[in-house]
């Protein structure tokens, strides 16, 4: 086995990771505020009407989401590189410069979205104001900037990997996966007046990100985290990782077909999309089982070995482990179950583009990505203060419980709203302007919108606890550890 060399938090790679995590959390906060505004606009359409319309709050909600996750992903990679390669990351000066350029660009894009909002119908608008395509609204200049910056990040990862003598399976997966992830962004960077072709390639970015490359990325993160937190056996963890890569790519790549049922693309996508996307929950179940299995096994081993000793838990970082367990569960539930609900064309013809989709989108993004990325932040905090153990505080628990409960509540509300839309707007009335508003006005829908807002507020309260905890848990634990040491 290789040795688990760690350069410690003095490593520049980890300092850079901390920067990325900080911006990620700020953008997460911005995302939630925009979500609240959008949710209020559903209930009171006059709210900020003509000043900060729904499309603007939603655009920033989604872009902040995507960007904070990319930040946290980059941060996680910079964080784990020293552990996985055993050496200091290559090209940190350039990497730090790239961070500042990216952050400046993101700030400009957000300000333009917030204050200029939209432009005249011209290429100029698409290049400098708003590209108008969900999730990747960033204007073209920013697209190019993002690609350049991300390529700098990628080359740092690749060069570090190549320079190091240590070749872990986790790194091999990451290096290949990140390459695909970056390459896919290019599919969203051109203009066409053919809306079917437009959406065909748009889904390459969105679907092949969240249901293929990002999922594999999460698999690698979870593998790393399990080794760090509970000392899971690397060989077994990496075996699971390769199985996950196999099943995730094997189902997710052609599962893309579930977005090609109704956009002008041929009918054979019904079969391809239904077949492969139905298999997508399989790896998610496997990932879920794997986390619980490893944890149970390690704990059982410890219990058998040192019954009665002081250290009762195999978990060296309970906040991170809690978030990772929520991840395993949320990924399976949000992506696997909620995704499967509407993935067959027979169902999707009715649910396509209803609140049902939004229900799935929320639980999946939260369950599969937000959770594990927050978990990585807790791992980073533990190392930053050089703590032997990091134990959950009340704030940790409130943070995780309230955000999760809130998102779950929003998901249930949206599912009910979507179900009502399916019955009334789609099945009964066949869609259309009046059908749409008939369904929007019924109590099942309006009450669901109220509950979504209430649960959104709950999520936000949880987020406040989370931020306070992230800022204090390490410091406090460190102080306590020092007191203990002094007493000995």
């Amino acid at each position: 086995m290789h040795t688990n060399l760690s350069v410690g938090f003095k490593s520049g790679s980890r300092k850079l990771a901390a920067k990325y995590f900080t911006v990620a959390i700020i953008l997460f906060g911005a995302q939630l505020i925009m979500g609240l505004i959008a949710a209020i606009q559903f209930i009171d359409p006059g709210f900020l009407f003509g000043i900060f319309d729904f499309n603007i709050s939603r655009t920033i909600h989604l872009n902040a989401l995507i960007v904070w996750m990319l930040y946290a992903m980059i941060g996680s990679v910079y964080y784990m590189l020293p552990d996985e390669t055993g050496i200091e990351t290559v090209g940190l000066k350039l990497g730090t410069l790239a961070f500042w350029i990216l952050t400046a660009a993101v700030t400009v894009v957000v300000l333009v979205f917030a204050f200029i909002q939209i432009g005249p119908g011209s290429q100029m608008s698409i290049w400098f104001i708003n590209e108008g395509r969900e999730y990747i609204e960033a204007p073209r200049w920013a697209d190019i900037g993002i690609v350049v910056v991300v390529l700098i990040f990628y080359s740092n990862v690749l060069l570090t990997y190549l320079k190091s003598k240590q070749r872990t399976g986790i790194m091999a997966v990451l290096v290949a996966d990140l390459f695909a992830l970056v390459g896919l962004y290019l599919a969203g960077m051109f203009y066409t007046d053919n809306i079917s072709v437009d959406q065909y390639w748009w889904w390459w970015v969105i679907h092949l990100w969240v249901e293929a490359t990002w999922e594999v990325f999460v698999g690698a993160l979870a593998a790393y985290a399990l080794i760090q937190i509970i000392g899971a056996n690397r060989k077994i963890v990496e075996m699971w990782l390769w199985i996950e890569v196999l099943t995730l790519f094997g189902s997710g790549i052609l599962g893309l077909g579930h977005h090609y049922f109704w956009i002008g693309t041929p009918e054979y996508w019904w079969e391809i999309g239904a077949l492969f996307s139905s298999l997508e929950p399989v790896p998610l179940i496997a990932m879920f089982v794997h986390v619980l299995y490893d944890w149970g096994k390690k704990q059982g081993y410890l219990n058998g070995q040192n019954a009665g000793q002081a250290i009762k838990s195999t978990i060296k970082n309970t906040p991170a482990m809690s978030w990772i367990v929520v991840n395993a569960f949320g990924n399976f539930l949000g992506a696997g179950i909620w995704g499967f609900f509407h993935t067959l064309p027979q169902v999707n013809i009715y649910t396509h583009g209803t609140q049902f989709t939004a229900a799935h989108g929320h639980l999946a993004f939260y369950g599969a990505y937000a959770t594990i990325l927050v978990g990585m932040m807790y791992i980073a905090i533990q190392k930053y203060y050089g703590l032997e153990r990091l134990v959950s505080t009340t704030k940790t628990k409130l943070g995780i419980a309230l955000t999760t409960f809130g998102v779950l509540g929003m998901t249930i509300a949206l599912t009910i709203a979507g179900y009502e839309q399916v019955l009334v707007e789609r099945a009964e009335l066949g869609g259309g302007w009046q059908a749409y508003f008939t369904a929007q006005a019924l109590p099942w829908f309006t009450q669901a919108m109220d509950w979504r807002l209430i649960m959104g507020v709950v999520t936000c309260i949880g987020f406040v606890y989370l931020v306070i905890d992230l800022m204090t848990i390490g410091k406090n634990a460190n102080a306590q550890a020092k007191i203990k040491q002094a007493n000995i």
Binding site: M1, L246, G264, A435, Q440
Partner: protein, 224 residues
Amino acid sequence: MDEQQPNSVWTSNSFWKRSAGWVTGFAVVLLMFLTFDTMTQITMGTDQDLKDGITKRVPAATVINYQIGYKMDYSRGHEMPVIGKPELFFGKTWSVKEANQLLNLGKLTEQSKDCMNCHTLLGNGAYYAPDLTKAWLDPMWKKGGVMQLMTHTKTKEEAMAAFLQYPVKYAIHVRKMPNLKITAKEAQGLVALLKQMSSIDTNGFPRGFSRNVQDFKQGVSNAH
């Protein structure tokens, strides 16, 4: 890294690694193949296709010079767009070049104004406002319908263009569409986009489009 010999192939990392490579490679190759095929099928048709009555999944921009319907096709088991007789669009027949330019302006405007973060187009986008896939065919816009009466216009396209420029003035519901500073020309482009989009073969989405709002209002259900 595997120092010990694995007991069985099922617990061998290199076996899973190789398998992952093969499966991924296979999926990618199949996706490439299907992408090529799909691209040939969804490339816009030509003006000649329209004249010859050849159906394309995505018809040419000059489809704006024709009537468009949405009818049940019993052999396919769902509705599909039907391109009918020629009709004037904004009072004229558009040449290939003019129609292309107009559609292009419409698409640029749709993106620049961020319509998709309120509406869905082909079912994708946001859920704050009605799906626009078949908006051109919505009963609200038809002759003698609410919108033509309200906007004092005589054709669908003029009613739509009027609404798009003054959505607050012509609002129907409390949840209004805001004024997006759409010019007269841009509005024409958007209407061309909406009309052309309604002619795309979406495999029957939306199903039974706006078929029985009247029935529903009178308490009659379609679910017999």
